[in-house]
């Protein structure tokens, strides 16, 4: 790892990638977007391994592809060696692709089945005009194959990808990515598709190559244990946002964000003394990226969420639905009669209106639930009132947290002091 003062190789500023979602048959919902990558900033220093960790659907793959401009960013800047490539066209990017490589997750699908190994691995050399003759390409490929541990290379050169094993294919994918001597490599779950026995060896190979060739990796994984093994610094991604990033050691020893903590708790350790420890695992599923929670996106699953985390109307409805799956039937009947059908509730960010509610029953019910702190959602409830025709539950402010330095990491969590993100205006 280089000194922290070094000029970053890649600097990401307020990067966003949104995907428009096609409306229905009649154009309904035409303006919906999935915020796959939402306002992310970090930097990668030359020679380091930067880990990007997140559950599936967190946008880590999209972020990796956006950095290589395989997906066009919606907003923000990607400074590679000081030059912003975010606005580059495909044509402008092509010469740069020699320096920016991508290692794929599934080795079985990322090699062209119609090309022999020497053709496939050597193709980047021909694309960029690095070699001029077939013999030269052949010897460069052979050299690279030896380097990734496929020896004797001569026996592999004229085979087809289908003739070799999965681990060997991944070595081929690595060889193909590195044959142009890139500076920056995005490795998108490079070992996820491999056997456990092969995994460690491929990881070790990647680290050896990094040391020998002076590579910089962006290592995308959903597996914190792997990340701990290879990464110098780690960013934790949740629903398109970076919730915490910093030195790997710091992150593992003293996680600052509840989400990081719960991911660490989820790592199984073969230690019987830990069997009954208090694990803080995230509850429920990752929310719909089309309609992410307000405020801090982790708040509905967060074990530590409090007033300002972004509680909104939808959370109250979710709470009621969850509650009714566990209470006994008379309670359910009584409470359903009080709220009226949940479909009829008018749900907004800052309030829920129950127009069909039984006013006399619902207000005491909700107040009671709030007083006994039946759910964390009630920390955000400021008021339960009635107006002319409905029971209204109001919620307080819940700004989205911005990254703030805590010790030596950057954390986006209100537990460390409420720091609001700049308003949505900057996202264009």
């Amino acid at each position: 790892m280089t000194t922290p003062q070094a000029q970053p190789l890649l600097q990401v500023e307020d990067l966003s990638t949104f995907f428009p979602v096609r409306g229905g048959l009649f154009g309904g919902g035409g303006s919906a977007v999935v915020r796959a990558v939402d306002n992310i900033s970090f930097d990668i220093r030359p020679g380091e391994v930067f880990g990007l960790v997140g559950e599936s659907g967190s946008g880590k793959t999209t972020l990796g592809r956006t950095l290589l401009k395989l997906v066009d960013p919606t907003a923000g800047a990607i400074r590679y060696k000081g030059t912003d490539i975010a606005g580059y066209t495909e044509r402008q990017m092509r010469p740069l692709r020699r320096e920016l490589a991508l290692i794929f997750q599934d080795p079985n699908a990322s090699l062209n089945p119609a090309m022999t190994i020497v053709q496939g691995v050597g193709h980047p050399l021909r694309i960029h005009g690095i070699t001029s003759s077939r013999a030269q390409t052949r010897s460069r490929v052979a050299e690279m194959l030896e380097r990734v541990g496929l020896s004797p290379a001569e026996t592999f050169l004229d085979k087809y990808p289908e003739d070799v094993s999965g681990g060997q294919k991944q070595r081929l994918v690595i060889a193909r990515a590195l044959i142009t001597e890139p500076a920056f490599v995005v490795a998108d779950e490079p070992v996820a598709a491999l056997d456990m026995s092969v995994r460690a060896r491929v990881l070790q190979l990647m680290l050896d190559l990094q040391r020998d060739l002076g590579l910089t990796y962006l290592f995308i994984t959903h597996d914190l244990a792997t990340a701990r093994f290879v990464c110098d610094r780690i960013g934790i991604l949740y629903l398109g946002s970076l919730v915490e990033w910093g030195p790997a050691r710091q992150l593992f020893d003293d996680p600052q964000h509840p989400y990081t903590r719960s991911l660490l708790d989820a790592i199984p350790l073969p230690d019987p003394r830990r069997r009954h420890r208090d694990k803080q695992l995230p509850t429920g599923e990752m929310p719909d990226a089309l309609n992410p929670p307000a405020g801090c996106r982790f708040h509905p699953r967060c074990p530590a969420a409090f007033e300002v985390c972004g509680w909104e109307g939808a959370d109250l409805i979710d709470f009621l639905e969850d509650r009714w799956t566990v209470v006994d039937e008379p309670t359910f009947e009584r409470e359903l009669a009080a709220t009226g059908p949940l479909d009829s509730a008018e749900v907004a960010r800052d309030e829920v209106r129950f127009p069909k509610a039984d006013h006399g029953a619902l207000v005491p019910l909700l107040r009671g639930l709030r007083d006994e702190e039946a759910g964390r959602v009630f920390t955000g409830v400021t008021d339960v009132t009635t107006d002319a025709d409905a029971v209204v539950v109001r919620f307080g402010e819940g700004p989205a947290p911005a990254l703030q330095p805590v010790q030596s990491v950057q954390v986006a969590c209100h537990l460390h002091g409420v720091v609001e993100q700049p308003s949505d205006l900057s996202r264009g």
Binding site: R97, L102, L111, A114, M115, T116, I127
Partner: protein, 358 residues
């Protein structure tokens, strides 16, 4: 350099073996189908390549030399001065002198059938090359680029596809007639246009699915230009469906050509063409001269059967898991004998002899 050439040979061998792998893995039945079909097709190909080796006369020869051992076909044209010639008798039934009989136009039926295979083969090859040459690149570009171009092309191809093949061929032949003299090329164009949508659709849809494969994105991440990606990464992974469409279309093209010839829009008389011969033989059939329609009809049926067998077998070999019944289009799967002699249109659809016995 001996070591280099040795390596080249090995590399070539490996590539050939790779290409033949599906053949070796195929089930024996499919292989037998292909072999049988190939024998029939190659037999006709031989006739088409060397018609004069088999045919005793030229395709339009109505006189033959008498009283000499000269090759009767070669002697034509020198009649009068050097040799004594006489007209070929009309409507001779098949016997030793004329194994397939003669027509009312004094032509030898065997020679007509053999020379007709040359026209059939030329047109099948020209028209499928034309259809493939247009359909495959359009399908690749349309599938890979997508967007407006894709939408326009899909609509256009569907518009062509809804017109029945023979009708479309007739329309095109009719239009071409206004600008070019009727002949091989315009008949090939008329037949070929019919098959463009089939190549286009299969290649486009296959391209759409291959485009999603990670290796295509890998090619982009390596900095390959779109044309390189289409040519080196997409084409070679979609091209395996072409031989199947090719052979099945070739079979269909034989029928379409015969239909065109039957209706008088194919190659002009007196060029030998099976459909044309069948159509000219209709009046003979009524009068009991079965042989003038039987032999060209049999030739059509045999060649279609041969090509269909190759196509069906290849389909099994290349896509053992994708036995999609749908995309064979209008290629007849079973060749049933024609029900009756007096239904001329049936000749195109079921190229069987019109009458089994006199």
């Amino acid at each position: 350099m001996p070591p280099l050439s040795g390596r080249r040979v090995t590399a070539l061998r490996i590539r050939v073996e790779h290409a033949l792998r599906p053949w070796r893995r195929a089930n024996p039945m499919a292989r037998r189908l292909v072999l049988l079909g190939s024998v029939i097709t190659l037999g006709f190909a031989f006739l088409a390549a060397f018609p004069s080796l088999v045919a005793p006369y030229g395709e339009a020869q109505y006189r033959h030399v008498v009283g000499t051992n000269e090759d009767p076909a070669a002697a034509e044209g020198r009649c009068g001065d050097e040799f004594e010639c006489e007209d070929i008798p009309r409507r001779l039934s098949p016997d030793t002198g004329f194994p397939f009989g003669t027509t009312s136009g004094r032509l030898d039926v065997l020679s007509r059938v053999v020379w007709g295979s040359r026209v059939a083969f030329s047109i099948v090859v020209l028209s499928t090359v034309l259809a493939m040459g247009i359909g495959v690149p359009l399908g690749l570009i349309s599938g890979y680029r997508g967007g407006k171009l894709d939408r326009v092309l899909v609509t256009l191809m569907d518009a062509i596809y809804v017109i029945p093949g023979l009708l479309l061929a007739i329309i095109i032949a009719f239009v071409l007639k206004a600008y070019f003299a009727p002949g091989l090329l315009s008949a090939a164009a008329a037949v070929g246009v019919v098959y463009i949508p089939q190549y286009y659709r299969v290649i486009r849809n296959h391209t759409l699915s291959v485009k999603q494969e990670p290796f295509v994105e890998a090619a982009r991440s390596l900095g390959a230009k779109p044309n390189t990606i289409i040519g080196r990464y997409v084409l070679f992974n979609v091209v395996q469906s072409v031989p199947v469409i090719f052979t099945l279309n070739a079979a269909d093209a034989v029928l379409t050509l015969a239909g065109l010839g039957f209706l008088g829009y194919g190659v002009p008389y007196p060029q030998a063409e099976w459909g044309l011969d069948v159509s000219r033989a209709i009046s003979d059939v009524v009068s009991g001269f079965w042989w003038t329609a039987f032999w060209p009809g049999l030739a059509i049926m045999l060649l279609v059967t041969g090509l269909t067998l190759v196509g069906e077998g290849l389909n099994d070999i290349i896509n053992p898991l994708l036995r999609v019944r749908g995309f064979r289009g209008r290629v007849p799967r079973r060749l049933e004998p024609a029900p009756a002699a007096d239904t001329p249109v049936e000749v195109n659809l079921s190229p069987a002899p019109t009458q089994e016995n006199p």
